[in-house]
């Protein structure tokens, strides 16, 4: 096995491809957190009074909270006074009206990341909101979408242009008192995407946001709010990358989804924050709160996530199934390599009658990675005929990694049916032997088996993303095989 082993060693050396830094002047606030910083952020964004008050309420509440310790992850304490809470490329105060006005260095950055904003504008397909550190720098296809009444814009713009919608829905799914990181986000959040789909409209293209952390010592705190009115449909994607740095950076986002009667929201994530190097130095702490509420009957929310990056992932996209016959879905692939740690899963809260939920979680651990699934399925008393199916599979590649499963089932209604199944195993020697015998190299064989293992989840992703996810998975796995 000396041949393949050598090849593998070379592959291990392969660097995180999105790890470059864009050299650009920034307009940032000093590090640290107090009420003045919050007022400053709010003033920079020229926010209405209600937003500032909401932020301050959240901040005061945050001071009374403690950082959670229950997750199966370990990290050095975070110094919240050492983080820069706002950083924006300079000269963006007046937001550019079109792509032509955007700093070419920024466009270049996105091109290098494989998101050529200009081309995407021409080749109809995906509308992109590009968020660079704390601000959104460009949003494509806005005009075309607004013809249909769809609002797709940066959060800060929505606060200006549609304060009534923001005020009506902000914090109704994830209140500012929710948890330590969500509360911090509520106090300091900078930008994010805002989507509003009016009644009966089917959004004709995929909406997508691309998050990029660039500045050092900066935390990214974005907030996304998606509202699908009665009978609406929207599919939303997000992608994330960050430069390679030795220190850890905090990313604490909040995503709120609101699906009204007969509507459907499909939310897909390909998360590829910088995972740290092979010694476990650096990387992003990804502490994210994502939650959706099916407010009306027959509403549907579907989460799909491919988590390959971040030093630590702490994330539980959840569904609150309030409307009768509403549906919640969660499809996840989480991969941990080197010293990455992931504690991820979902919560499905069944409140309405005949609500249904499906959870499919695939965890892959390699190197020294630790991968946990943590989930809650709760059926409340009135949820007659509720149905849940959960399947969690873990694949272990190597003898230093760990895979853990912590489901929690809490049923208060006798007509509910809840099933949970989980398995943990490694790639079988017979499977490998079979592939090797047919002329596949060890890496190709493992890559193929892992892709097969994740296929059910990839099938849920929009086409372009599925291809991207597969590629990402094999890149992230490189060096783990042997």
């Amino acid at each position: 096995m000396s041949g393949p082993a050598e090849k593998i060693r070379r592959l291990i050396k392969k660097k995180y491809p999105a790890g470059f830094v864009t050299d650009i002047e920034v307009d940032a606030v000093p590090p640290g957190l107090d009420e003045d910083i919050i007022r400053l952020i709010s003033a920079k964004k020229n926010e209405p009074r209600f937003m500032l008050e909401w932020r301050l309420k959240a901040y005061r509440h945050w001071l009374t909270m403690h950082e959670p310790t229950w997750a199966q992850v370990q990290y050095d304490p975070i110094d919240y006074q050492d983080i820069v809470y706002y950083s924006a490329p300079a000269g963006q105060e007046a937001r550019p009206k079109s792509l032509a006005e955007v700093d070419p260095r920024l466009l270049k950055t996105y091109e290098k990341l494989g998101i050529p904003l200009r081309e995407q504008e021409l080749l109809a397909g995906v509308a992109v909101d590009a968020v660079f550190d704390s601000v959104s720098i460009a949003t494509t296809f806005k005009d075309k979408l607004s013809e249909l009444g769809i609002i797709f814009c940066p959060f800060s713009e929505a606060v200006q242009a549609h304060p009534e919608l923001v005020q009506k829905y902000l914090g109704t799914v994830v209140p500012y008192t929710d948890n330590f990181f969500a509360t911090l986000n509520s106090a300091v959040f900078s930008d994010g995407s805002f989507v509003y789909v009016p009644p009966g409209v089917r959004c004709p293209m995929e909406l997508s946001t691309y998050f990029r952390i660039n500045a050092a010592k900066t935390g990214q705190f974005e907030r996304t709010l998606i509202i699908a009115e009665e009978g609406a449909y929207v599919s939303y994607l997000e992608g994330c990358t960050a430069p390679m740095r030795d220190e850890n950076q905090l990313h604490a986002a909040v995503v709120e989804l609101i699906a009204l009667k007969d509507s459907e929201i499909k939310y897909s994530t390909v998360q590829n924050w910088y995972p740290g190097d092979e010694e476990g130095r650096g990387g992003i702490y990804n502490f994210v709160t994502k939650r959706g509420a099916c407010r009306g009957d027959h509403a549907k929310i579907s989460w799909t996530q491919v988590e390959t990056g971040s030093a630590i992932t702490w994330k539980y996209p959840s569904c609150i199934l309030e409307g009768d016959n509403s549906v919640g879905e969660f499809y996840s692939v989480a991969l941990t390599n080197n010293y990455q740690q992931a504690d991820t899963g979902t919560k499905m809260i069944h409140i309405g009658r005949n609500t249904r939920s499906t959870i499919l979680s695939k965890g892959i651990s390699a190197g020294h990675g630790q991968n946990s699934y943590r989930g809650l399925v709760k059926v409340l008393k009135g949820a007659m005929g509720a149905r849940n199916y959960t399947r969690c599979d873990s694949l272990l590649l190597g003898d230093k990694c760990g895979a853990h499963t912590f489901p929690h089932i809490d049923v208060h209604n006798p007509t509910a049916t809840v099933e949970h199944e989980a398995t943990t195993s490694k790639i079988g020697d017979e499977q490998l032997f079979y592939c090797r015998q047919r002329g596949l190299s060890a890496e190709d064989a493992v890559s193929m088996i892992v892709n097969g293992f994740c296929k059910q989840v990839f099938n849920e992703l929009p086409m372009e993303f599925a291809v991207e996810a597969q590629r990402l998975l094999s890149v992230s796995l490189e060096g783990a095989i042997g």
Binding site: I409, N413, T415, T424
Partner: protein
């Protein structure tokens, strides 16, 4: 020391009774007890914020101050017999309110190398026999109940199967509570199975009246190389009884341990099972059945540590909850680094029979080795409509069809019971409970 009023009450009890406890002059034992008391004073009972304790808003035992159970033995053989319809065992140990009752026990003719005795007597006369084991496996670092038990450790059963000893018939341990109102019995058992030994234990917990009292029991089981133990625990106490059991099992190479916990009585019953597979080839099977009604709450918390390779563990827990009752299963399976070729399976199935019943299930896997086979499954649901239809189409009315299906669900666990008198007794209890007025297949 500063503690709550209730903690201080127990501390005063401890100071008062310290000098009457068996083996008080033995230094290691005195140290074990006083350390446990310190631990209890420092940490108290677990709070409902702690994981694993959050399902009782106010643990009934925490708010109440129980007096230590009294030593006199008011129970006669005639009192006991109606509660032991299956008094089959050749060897029987009876403990009344936590104290060994020699007149009710039968211990003649034990095979050579086998000891079955009162723990208090052994602590008093042969403490050296217990030193290598007692308190070593339960530890005092667990929750307050364990520490309290160790501090007040007094009586219980001491069973030793010597090397190669094979006990073909079961040893029956009967724990009786009588006139135990507002009292607590800290029962302590120690079972040591030496190399190549084999034996079967049956524990039955009974109440002779409807009083409310608290049983706080700790059982340590040490199983050496190639020992085979089968351990039944049948909880049949009164509807007002409170029961907390900590069972700590330590398994040596190629040893086999099979447990079957059946809980049907009690107001609050909690069984904590901790198994450590400490050497290669350990094999453990934990089965459990709980059927609850009224406002009962039954909890099973298991933890299995695969510390060495080639270990096998199997768990199957089934619950049937009616009325306002609540069934909780929390199973944690830890495969440590280097415990390669571990094979573990964990299953929890629950059936809810009423709108107000609750099932909570938390099967957990924590795996740090790669060459393992681990799986778990958990379900909560109601009777299968198709199965009901099948029975209805064969002219069985709806009530009977439902009863039959519930009985069938629960009887899965019974099939695993190899000790016939225990199985027959449980079948009868289940039939009485679920097949009311249903005369099918001779089961009535």
């Amino acid at each position: 020391m500063i503690g709550t009023e209730i903690q201080n009450g127990y501390y005063q009890d401890y100071r008062r009774f310290e000098n009457t406890l068996p083996g008080r002059k033995v230094p290691w034992l005195a140290r074990l007890r006083s350390e446990a008391m310190e631990r209890f004073m420092a940490h108290g009972f677990p709070s409902s914020h702690e994981e694993g304790w959050k399902y009782i808003d106010q643990p009934p035992v925490k708010r109440r101050r129980f007096q230590l159970a009294q030593a006199e033995c008011p129970v006669s053989e005639d009192d006991l017999m109606p509660y032991l319809p299956d008094d089959h065992a050749r060897w029987r140990v009876v403990l009344v309110n936590g104290r060994f009752a020699p007149l009710l026990s039968r211990l003649e003719g034990l095979p050579a190398g086998v000891t079955v005795a009162s723990l208090a007597t052994t602590l008093e006369h042969e403490p050296a026999m217990l030193e290598p084991y007692l308190g070593r496996y339960a530890g005092i670092n667990g929750h307050g109940f364990g520490a309290l038990n160790t501090a007040f450790m007094n009586d219980g059963a001491y069973i030793r199967l010597g090397p190669g000893a094979i006990v073909r018939e079961p040893v029956h341990l009967v724990y009786v509570a009588s006139g135990a109102r507002d009292s607590v019995a800290h029962v302590r058992n120690l079972v040591v199975a030496d190399e190549n030994s084999q034996g079967t234990l049956v524990e039955t917990y009974l109440s002779l009246d409807e009083e409310s009292y608290f049983t706080n029991v700790i059982t340590e089981v040490i199983s050496a190389q190639n020992a085979h133990l089968v351990h039944y625990k049948l909880e049949q106490e009164s509807a007002r009884a409170l029961h907390m059991a900590g069972i700590h099992i330590h398994q040596g190479r190629d040893s086999h341990y099979t447990a079957c916990n059946v809980a049907s009585g009690g107001q609050w019953v909690r069984n904590d099972l901790n198994v450590v597979l400490d050497a290669e080839g350990g094999n453990c099977t934990l089965n459990g059945l709980y059927f609850t009604a009224a406002h009962q709450q039954v909890e099973h918390h298991t933890r299995i540590d695969h510390r060495a390779g080639h270990g096998t563990s199997r768990q199957l827990y089934k619950g049937v909850m009616d009325d306002h009752s609540r069934g909780i299963f929390s199973g944690r399976l830890v495969v440590h680094p280097n415990a390669q070729k571990s094979d573990a399976r964990q299953t929890n199935n629950n059936l809810l029979l009423s709108e107000d019943a609750e099932a909570i299930s938390k099967p957990q896997l924590e795996i740090y080795a790669d060459d393992v086979k681990c799986a778990h499954g958990s379900t909560v649901g109601y009777l299968d409509e198709e199965a009901l239809f099948y029975l209805r189409s064969r002219a069985i009315d709806e009530d009977h069809a439902r009863s039959l299906l519930v009985y069938a669900f629960a009887s899965d666990i019974l099939q695993q019971i190899t000790l016939m008198p225990v199985r027959a007794n449980l079948e009868r209890r289940l039939a009485n409970r679920f097949l009311k007025g249903c005369a099918i297949g001779g089961l009535k």
